[in-house]
């Protein structure tokens, strides 16, 4: 009977609130009665919407997974073999190991709905697999180094960062595009709502490429050396880049400088991960520290120690943080809530260094790409149990996929909407002086006061090593031409101005003009 909610019990609507919950809904906004009534109506509609959204929770079909210890047991002591015996058959079937020892280490990626697994071995072995059925989509041997692989907006296309260029392939393995602007990139990411492929790598450049139109939207020099790690903040599409000096910089395609910089570790940043609501970031550095940051306050919450530097991080939909260090995978639970003493789960891949770990969307599975192939581990409670079919559908048909593609292209967001706060669009900029200040105050700000001294305009005086002089130095030949005369005259003028300036500085009075103002110009 416990699962039946009585009609009178108040629903927990906190999950569905937009904006800060502290914001009080006012009874009266303005003196204008018509406007006030309109605003109150908007409030009422918002309240109703939140209520009815909360009441749809009853209709959710699935429950999230869990792993609990009983008695003396510890959850991190459970082996994958024990777990796969305890779970149901269909979940156990999802655990697999691909032994690929020749072309490793392997980096992996899942398509957005979690159906397709993409693997790329460093030595050029690329494959796409429908991992549930085990059907091979395509297999390529590119015969050159592959650094990263990334699935694009659906499972039809993927991008591979290769030795020199980045390429786009379709599902059958056909090479569609060679992105010659993306040279020497080692990290790839894709912003699905903006259709932007983002690359960074050894050149230190960050490049945004619109894959729907094929244009390079923007490229920025990070000026921080080769980029070590790159992840997107899925909540606001800001790119987080980890650098060799231990900083994490936040980028949007609209600004040539980072939106923010965080000094996170004392050595190079190895990897980072951001949770799906953009609230927390985990950063691992070569200093063997794993740091948890609150991105709302830009404050460090906790520090964890990894025995060897963590090479790969990922945060699941339900907030499980998995850390790959050496041949180990450690999964942490509730790290964003409080400091944990022991991990949630552990796994060891003997003798195989971990390259990349990635949670499967909407599944309790963690994919691990390592030195000797690809493995998938069961991590109960990792994935979002109830997907929204109008957003991402793991069971979509070909027709649905096609329609979804058109719809998402129609709703493609412009790159210039990317900012730290994704809900800023359509709101009033309260920092604007026209709103912050009263009409009288604006004048005070824009017009300087009486007593304020207007800075003196000083002519730009070249130093001793001016461009003219260096030009003259280059002209070695003893040829007097028109140009040389002009340059010498200008140099003389420059010298005079310099001397005059020097005299002014010393306080020596100007020598009296003997000729008078009328004749002075013939001097």
């Amino acid at each position: 009977m416990s699962h039946i909610v009585s009609a009178s019990a108040p629903l927990d609507t906190s999950k569905y609130q937009r904006g800060s919950s502290k914001q009080q809904k006012k009874a009266r906004y303005t003196k204008d009665r018509k406007l006030n009534a309109g605003l109150k109506k908007v409030d009422r509609q918002y309240k109703d919407a939140v209520q009815s959204a909360a009441s749809t929770e009853l209709l959710l079909q699935e429950d999230a997974g869990y792993l609990e210890a009983e008695g003396m047991e510890k959850t991190f002591k459970f082996k994958q073999d024990e777990i796969s015996e305890a779970v149901d058959v269909s979940t156990a079937a999802k655990k697999f190991d691909l032994k690929l020892e020749e072309f490793g280490p392997y980096t992996i990626d899942y398509s957005r709905n979690g159906r397709e697994l993409l693997i790329a071995g460093r030595k050029g072995h690329v494959a796409s697999i429908d991992w549930r059925t085990g059907a091979l989509g395509c297999e390529l041997n590119l015969n050159e180094t592959c650094h990263a692989i990334k699935s694009l907006h659906n499972d039809q296309y993927f991008a591979v960062a290769q030795k020199k260029y980045t390429f786009i392939y379709d599902k059958t393995g056909l090479e569609l595009h060679r992105l010659k602007q993306h040279i020497d990139s080692t990290l790839l990411d894709f912003l699905p709502y903006h259709f932007l492929l983002v690359s960074a790598g050894n050149t230190g450049f960050l490049k945004y490429h619109d894959v729907s139109t094929g244009t390079l939207v923007s490229e920025y020099r990070t000026k921080l050396g080769p980029t070590q790690a790159m992840k997107q903040n899925p909540w606001n599409a800001v790119m987080h880049l980890g650098h060799g000096n231990g900083t994490v910089s936040l980028w949007s395609p609209n600004m040539s400088t980072p939106l923010a910089k965080i000094q996170s570790s004392r050595g190079p940043v190895r990897d980072l991960a951001i949770d799906r609501e953009g609230r927390y970031m985990a950063v691992s550095g070569a200093d063997k520290q794993l740091k948890i940051w609150d991105l709302r306050k830009f404050k460090e919450i906790d520090t964890y120690f990894t025995p060897t530097p963590a090479t790969s991080l990922d945060i699941s939909d339900n907030g499980l943080l998995s850390v790959g260090w050496g041949p180990h995978v450690t999964v942490w639970k509730d790290v964003f809530k409080s400091k944990q003493n022991s991990p949630y789960m552990n796994h060891l891949l003997p003798g195989s260094k971990i390259e990349k770990i990635k949670y499967v969307p909407f599944e309790d599975i963690l994919g691990v790409g390592h030195q000797k192939g690809v493995s998938s581990l069961i991590v109960p409670g990792a994935g979002e149990a109830n997907y929204d079919a109008l957003e991402l559908n793991p069971y979509e048909s070909a027709k649905q996929r096609q329609e979804q593609e058109v719809r998402s292209l129609l709703n493609k967001l412009s790159p210039d909407t990317i900012s730290m706060d994704p809900s800023v669009i359509g709101t009033v900029d309260k920092r604007a002086s026209s709103i912050r200040l009263k009409p009288g105050q604006i004048n005070q700000v824009t017009t300087p006061g009486e007593d304020e001294t207007v800075p003196e305009i000083r002519p730009d005086v070249q130093g001793k090593n001016s461009k003219l002089r260096s030009h003259l130095r280059k002209k070695k030949q003893n040829v007097i031409d028109q140009r040389k005369l002009r340059i010498e005259k200008n140099l003389k003028m420059e010298k005079e101005i310099r001397q005059k300036r020097h005299r002014e500085f010393k306080g020596i009075p100007e020598e009296k003009d003997l000729l008078g103002p009328a004749l002075a110009r013939f001097k």
Binding site: Y16, E62, E68, I83, V87, D88, T417, V424
Partner: protein, 462 residues
């Protein structure tokens, strides 16, 4: 160990046969829907662009129109598809809007038809003209089956149909309107006269001051009130029960037409020679409720939509503008290359269409909402349109959306005239400001735009 993992049975999510609908589970958790604000904005922008793409306001014309300029349109309030028009050559026509064809036409007057109305029982039509006559016509559409000759149509057959009655007046008439409940009608001209349909002579004369009355309108809710506008720039309200005027206001320029608000019976709109239309409260005429600007020539006719939410104006600048009653600037402007000065404009009684009569002898039909289509829509389509409308409303103040939704192609003449007018009004305003600045404080008081055009009021004591 207690353990559970997410394991979905594909039977639940994948349809058994491909003809079945697949289940589309929803999860409204905001965490699964990032960028909702930006996505809604993008949708609103797309919807605004789509609205502009589908904007095709002009539908067509009624039949072949008239032989001369159309100066009168009269609605039949009890049907949605019947309308009467009168032209400068004295011909009146009765139209079937569904087939856009003419039901019947009468050569009613010598000279211009200066007033036309369909009686509330919708079986007859009254017309008046410069030839000092008022004529009563039968418009039972089932009589017009095409079997009659022109003579029979005009004079009627077996005592039915055609011209029913002629009232002879003392002066040429300007404007006519029928009482909503009783068998009374009033006429304008050199004086306002009240007539009983069953008598041959007028029963009372209501004039107060004006030398010539251009338009008379019965209130259709407060049925005994008449609003009239005269050539002495005045608007006068009369009460038929006491046979006396009740309110009068004199404005700076002449009022061309009057329309009562069908829902708020005490409000009426007037189209004025000073390029503006005004909204009035009949209880307080010392100040108009709203000013509708944007036209660049005299407003010749105004009409309210049946809900009273919108107002349509036709102007001498050859454009039609649609206003929301509560806003001061037009939400849309209609024009075509061949349309000349507009003398009459009316909403259809279902508010979906607008009829305009102009100098060029055509009666044009327009959509009230340029992008709306009257075809039957599926539920999905309807939901989508409603959703789009809500989004557009929500983001209407965003610069890009506002720019797109406000943009209209306007004839170069109108655009130029608007620019010149703006310069002129700015100059006047500047001059007034300067005067105020250099006068004793308070000696040049501010006058609100809604009062500026009023020269004076006179309330008749009972």
């Amino acid at each position: 160990m207690k353990i559970k993992t997410v394991s979905r049975s594909s039977d639940t999510y994948v349809p058994v046969r491909n003809t079945q609908e697949s289940s589309l589970p929803r999860n409204l958790n905001p965490a699964l829907h990032p960028f909702e604000r930006a996505r809604e904005y993008t949708k609103a922008l797309t919807a605004t662009k789509m609205e502009k793409m589908f904007a095709q306001p002009f539908i067509g014309q009624l039949g072949n129109g008239h032989r001369d300029g159309v100066y009168q349109i009269a609605k039949n309030f009890s049907t949605t598809n019947q309308v009467a028009t009168g032209s400068a050559d004295g011909v009146i026509k009765y139209w079937d809007m569904t087939s856009r064809s003419e039901a019947v036409s009468f050569k009613a007057h010598y000279g211009m038809v200066s007033g036309l109305c369909v009686s509330p029982n919708s079986s007859s039509m009254l017309s008046c003209g410069d030839d000092k006559t008022v004529k009563l016509w039968s418009v039972n559409t089932d009589e017009f089956d095409g079997s009659q000759s022109d003579q029979e149509l005009y004079h009627g057959r077996d005592g039915k149909g055609g011209l029913l009655k002629t009232f002879l007046g003392e002066h040429s008439f300007k404007g006519i309107d029928h009482h909503q409940d009783e068998e009374l009608f009033c006429t304008g001209g050199a004086s306002i006269q009240l007539w009983d349909i069953n008598r041959s002579k007028y029963i009372s004369n209501l004039s107060w001051g004006a030398d010539n009355i251009n338009t008379v309108k019965f209130n259709r809710t407060q049925t005994n009130i008449i609003a009239s506008a005269g050539s002495d720039n005045s608007i006068v309200l009369y009460d038929v029960r006491t046979n006396s005027p009740i309110q009068k206001v004199v404005t700076s320029l002449r009022t061309n037409s009057i329309a009562w608000n069908p829902m708020e019976a005490f409000n009426f709109a007037s189209g004025c020679e000073d390029h503006n239309a005004y909204l009035w409260d009949m209880r307080r005429l010392d100040r108009s409720l709203n000013v509708y600007k944007d036209h660049v020539a005299a407003v010749m006719d105004v009409d309210f939509s049946p809900t009273g939410e919108e107002l349509v104006t036709g102007s001498y600048d050859k454009t039609i503008r649609i206003y929301k009653t509560r806003e001061g600037h037009s939400r849309d402007i209609y024009h075509t290359k061949r349309m000349q000065h507009i003398f009459c404009v009316k909403f259809s009684t279902d508010s979906k269409y607008i009829l305009s009569g102009s100098d060029d002898s055509n009666i044009r039909i327009w959509r009230t909402n340029a992008s709306e289509r009257s075809s039957i829509k599926s539920t999905r389509q309807r939901n989508k349109l409603e959703y789009d409308a809500a989004l557009k409303e929500r983001f209407k103040h965003m610069p890009e959306i506002r720019r797109i939704s406000k943009h209209r192609h306007v004839p170069i003449v109108v655009k130029k005239a608007g620019e010149i007018k703006r310069v002129e009004t700015d100059a006047l305003k500047k001059r007034e400001d300067n005067q105020r600045k250099h006068s004793r404080p308070g000696s040049v008081p501010f006058k609100s735009e809604r009062e500026k055009h009023i020269r004076g009021t006179a309330i008749k004591e009972q």
